[in-house]
């Protein structure tokens, strides 16, 4: 799948309290959560983010709590993919499990890119292309097992297949 969108930049160690503050966790609907996404660290994000935008962050993105509301809020906000230098492990598995595309890329994209610039992402190849100058960045490939979950559309669909077998 090829994605193209505008970049939102975040730094290192963006925690899940920042992605969706706990005070809103009585909601489970992605769109309701999206209305408060990132509000404590970037009050403009929720109102300005557009469907198809990409989020680029530094290392340890999604650290802190296990709340699945964090990737759900990003999904609800229309974020098409999160690219980070590294992810905290629970956020990583939550994103895979709910089908929010993520890519782990060693390049310091959160420092290289400018906010609002355009990226093209080839999800299956893990290729990230900066449209302003054509420079290309390769993301880490997913292990086969995770590719299976991704292809089946998330963990619940994967489990559904297993239960049928």
């Amino acid at each position: 799948m090829i994605l193209e969108g505008k970049v939102w930049l975040f730094g290192d160690n963006v925690d899940t309290d920042a992605i969706i503050p706990a005070r809103y966790l009585s909601a489970t609907d992605p769109e309701e959560l999206a209305a408060h996404c990132m509000e404590d660290i970037n009050p403009d994000f929720a109102a300005s983010v557009q469907a198809g935008d990409l989020l680029v962050a530094g290392s340890n993105f999604g650290c802190g709590s296990s709340r699945e509301h964090a990737p759900l809020a990003l999904k609800g906000a229309g974020v098409s993919c999160v690219i980070a230098k590294s992810f905290a492990r629970i956020f990583y598995r939550n994103a895979i499990n709910i089908g929010l595309p993520i890519l782990e890329c060693e390049a310091e994209l959160s420092r290289i890119l400018a906010p609002g610039e355009l990226l093209r992402v080839d999800l299956s190849a893990g290729m990230i292309i900066r449209l302003s100058d054509g420079s290309r960045y390769q993301a880490a490939p997913f292990p086969t097992f995770m590719q299976e979950i991704i292809q089946q559309g998330g963990l619940i669909e994967y489990v559904r297949h297993r239960l049928k077998r």
């Binding site: 160690n13 920042a18 503050p21 963990l155 239960l163």
Partner: protein, 422 residues
């Protein structure tokens, strides 16, 4: 072939394999899966998409409404109701209602539900607490919980293990909280990302279970997949009378491979304080001296156990909370609450003019029972001090042990307990 760590052995056993190595992806049988009033509703929604008429094994599911309960508002009440109805419908015996419940990670070990050698997942990041009893326990998301409720399994990448050896003698007023805060300060909030953290050495051997639970609890704050102590005499005596279930302790091989070993001499360690905005921003308490605080919270899955309350009471006895400070004390479970009453700790707290709450995660995650206003500073025995964690994004949280929290509540500013006790 080299030996295996305790975690590798537990995961191998759960996967039905003779051995596993770091990096392997395995699907393992889960002994216990846990959800709370925030994470279980999302899991229930996902589980119901599968259209099953039963959970894989109702005995292996634990549901604890502890975050926004007793219900803070209508939305929270609806969430709690959803969990309650699910527990009824699927015959979940280990559902703990208000009045019988506690903060999940204090409650499960107390109830004898956590055993050495087990594999436990919880839709709560502090599930890693149970590593203190020699289990492999880790936080996952709600969909993982849904899948485990459906098929009794979860997938994992086998983590490599970092070993932490603590040597020397713990100074007075320094406890498990300080050891883990110091450790996180040394390696950073992603220092153990994806890894297991093995806590060992002579200091750990002497550390009581409460302190061990506190340490394993905060492994996630260094990015760890789990933190653990191998089972020993302290573990077995803690389990006595709590469980009738048989269990099989697992120990790492003498030639197990650790990715890294760090050794800390604790003999001259001061109580530690983590400054905002992250738990790795740790400093000795002397560097925090004089910081004025508005609220002090003693409680949470990190430090709301009986030993923590006793430490706080030893300092609060016959003293009064500073007029400018609000001290909120939250016993982590009903049993702890009752025992604290029996020991007279509650009298000490009330006489000191502290507010005592029923068990709840409450203020730790900015849920209720002590939210901070703009510009306020809190000192808390909780586990996270991220921006906005306890309330307004412009409030600040400092983390510490229960003795420092109690002493500082009296002083009105962060102090070493020695100063109050002198």
């Amino acid at each position: 072939m080299s030996g295996q760590t305790m975690i590798e052995k537990i995961l191998a056993r759960g996967a039905g394999k003779k051995e596993v190595k770091p990096g392997d992806l395995v699907s393992v049988k889960v002994d216990l899966s846990l959800g709370n009033d925030i994470t279980a509703p999302v899991a229930i929604k996902e589980f119901e998409r599968l259209g099953l008429d039963r959970v894989f094994d109702p005995e292996k599911v634990v549901l604890v409404p502890d975050h926004f309960t007793p219900n803070r508002d209508i939305a929270a009440a609806e969430q709690a109701l959803l969990v309650r109805r699910f527990a009824e419908k699927y015959g979940i015996r280990h559902y703990f209602e208000i009045g019988r419940m506690g903060i999940e990670h204090a409650l499960l070990p107390e109830q004898g539900l956590v055993l050495p050698g087990q594999i436990i997942i919880g839709a709560d990041s502090h599930t890693c607490t149970y590593g203190a009893l020699g289990a492999f326990a880790t936080g996952v998301g709600s969909t993982d919980l849904a899948a485990a409720m459906a098929i009794g399994e979860a997938w994992f990448k086998v983590p490599s293990t970092m070993r932490f050896i603590y040597e020397g003698e713990l100074p007075p007023w320094v406890d498990g909280k300080d050891l883990i805060l110091y450790t996180i300060g040394q390696i950073g909030v992603e220092g153990a990302r994806y890894k297991a953290m093995a806590f060992c050495g002579p200091v750990i051997e002497k550390l009581p279970m409460d302190g061990r639970l506190t340490m394993a609890n905060m492994a996630i704050e260094a990015g760890g997949k789990c933190g653990y102590m191998e089972p020993d005499a302290v573990t077995f005596s803690y389990l006595e009378g709590r469980t009738a279930q048989p269990y099989e302790p697992v120990y790492g091989d003498a030639d197990a491979v650790y990715e890294q070993t760090l050794t800390f001499d604790v003999s001259r360690m001061e109580p530690q304080v983590a400054f905002p905005p992250a738990p790795d921003n740790t400093h000795p308490v002397s560097e925090a001296a004089g910081i004025k605080i508005d609220q002090v919270v003693i409680g949470s899955c990190t430090n709301g156990r009986l030993e923590d309350l006793r430490r706080a009471a030893a300092i609060l006895k016959g003293r009064r909370v500073h007029p400018r400070v609000r001290l909120i004390i939250i016993p982590a479970t009903q049993r702890i609450y009752r025992q604290a009453m029996a020991e007279g700790l509650m009298d000490i707290f009330v006489e000191a003019e502290a507010a005592i709450s029923t068990p709840t995660c409450g203020p730790c995650l900015g849920g209720h029972m002590g939210i901070l206003a703009r510009g306020e500073k809190a000192l808390a025995t909780t586990n996270r001090n991220f921006v906005g964690r306890m309330g307004h994004p412009e409030s600040e949280i400092f983390l510490c042990n229960p003795a420092v929290a109690a002493a500082s509540a009296i002083a009105g500013e962060i102090v070493h307990p020695e100063e109050v006790m002198a």
